[in-house]
Symmetry: C2
Subunit: 261 residues, 2 copies
């Protein structure tokens, strides 16, 4: 499957039918992609509270009623089948990856869809700001910082950030552009001094790939949705289901819709 | 008690000691005031979800863990005693008003603090936009619209709006100014054509007082926190506690902080 110029509904159909099993990066351009976390009803209040208290890493796009699988932001979609790959955690430990979680999903499961940085990367490119990870066809560099999120009930996590190198002038433009996208992490959380947030070696990201920092460039850091996944698996819940890295849920929202909500 | 130039902590102390029993309108100027709703743990997920799904009428300033009464936005405060007057609802019916809810509050109660329009009214005045209800020393006019909020579990409510009359030029300025205050209802939801949102007579508000509409002025409508109270009491919960109208919780946040969060 190499055709990437698909609509979101068509892409979800291909995924559901087992004809698209790869990451969704760059697929259905212009449509908002989302992080997924599913967990049992008994923990849903505190997990929602964690997201509300930490809106930069955990921007809420949609939360479904217990047992529901069709999000408001994607009519006709089924969250149990419409992501190319899922991760299943039990008692906080990764158990396995799978392409379908219908058998695991019951009346007690609550689904959370959270913004990811794909949307604002398109806006950065449109504004003439380079996105090095796309240029180098790598995963974005992600780092675990020394900053703690605000806890909620049993959920806690360090703030995880993604990093994009650019000139100081481009960084100013990037702040302006991404401020409008508060539902996909918004403005940067830090720039220029990685050691201040506990990042000692940019060449050794905790997740994703290292990218090239050119002379005259500084690192610019955004809050990252991986924070949400760390929080969801930070405690010994009997069952947590998430997307597998890069295998996101593709919604019917358009990137530009996010600046209106 | 006529001295109104108080700090928020001092005002809360006076309230707690029974020395301030009147509405908080205009008191501790510059400090963010909040709507309060307290309800049992079993309904907290769905009520939080209602607020998340309807951020314009229900902007979340703080949500506390079950049984907790000291908010993060007001160190040393006690939500059981620090509002001048509360309303107690049982099975969706108003039971009584009281000045202290310590005896009603238990480990199962969850407290929600939600933005109110006092903060952006100061910003409007600073921008040269008239606030008629303040000029005429009345309560703001509030109307129940024909628009429904997005439901969550058992919670539903029509959108309630507050109205301020101004010239069309001032309305443009008001949109700009209040857009920055997304935690206190943000930009207007409607202007100019009240019949479109089901308001047939501006002189007959559903809550608050009528105010004067001068020649050349149009009505400008903002989402209103009363929506939250209608939602909290829209179903037969065993116990719901809210602030009494105008008797708000005064936090340590400053109005200008709201544009940063």
């Amino acid at each position: 499957m190499i055709k990437k110029d698909l609509s979101a509904p068509r892409l979800r159909e291909l995924i559901r039918d087992g004809q698209w099993e790869t990451p969704t990066t760059g697929a259905a351009p212009g449509y908002v992609q989302a992080n997924l976390a599913m967990l049992p009803r008994d923990w849903a209040f505190h997990f929602l509270l964690f997201c509300v208290r930490n809106p930069k890493p955990c921007p809420i796009l949609d939360v479904l009623e217990p047992g529901q699988w069709e999000p408001r932001i994607a009519k006709g979609a089924d969250l149990r089948t419409d992501l190319p790959r899922y991760r299943v955690y039990r008692e906080g430990e990764l158990e396995r990856e799978t392409e379908d979680v219908t058998d695991l999903f019951g009346d007690h499961m609550v689904s959370f869809l959270l913004g990811c940085s794909f949307s604002f990367e398109s806006a950065l490119i449109a504004a003439g700001v380079p996105v090095r990870n796309l240029e180098e066809e790598k995963n974005v560099s992600m780092y675990i910082t020394n900053r703690d999120c605000i806890t909620a009930g049993p959920f806690s996590a360090p703030l995880v950030v993604s990093m994009r190198p650019m000139t100081p002038e481009q960084a100013v433009r990037a702040v302006q552009v991404t401020t409008r996208f508060h539902l996909t992490h918004g403005a940067p959380v830090h720039l220029g001094a990685p050691e201040e947030i506990g990042v000692s070696d940019l060449g050794q990201p905790d997740f994703g790939d290292p990218v090239t920092l050119l002379p005259g460039e500084i690192p610019v850091f955004w809050a990252c949705g991986v924070t949400t996944i760390l929080a969801a698996t930070s405690t010994d819940l009997p069952l947590v289901i998430t997307h597998a890295p890069g295998h996101m849920f593709v919604s019917d929202l358009r990137d530009e819709d996010l600046t209106l909500l």
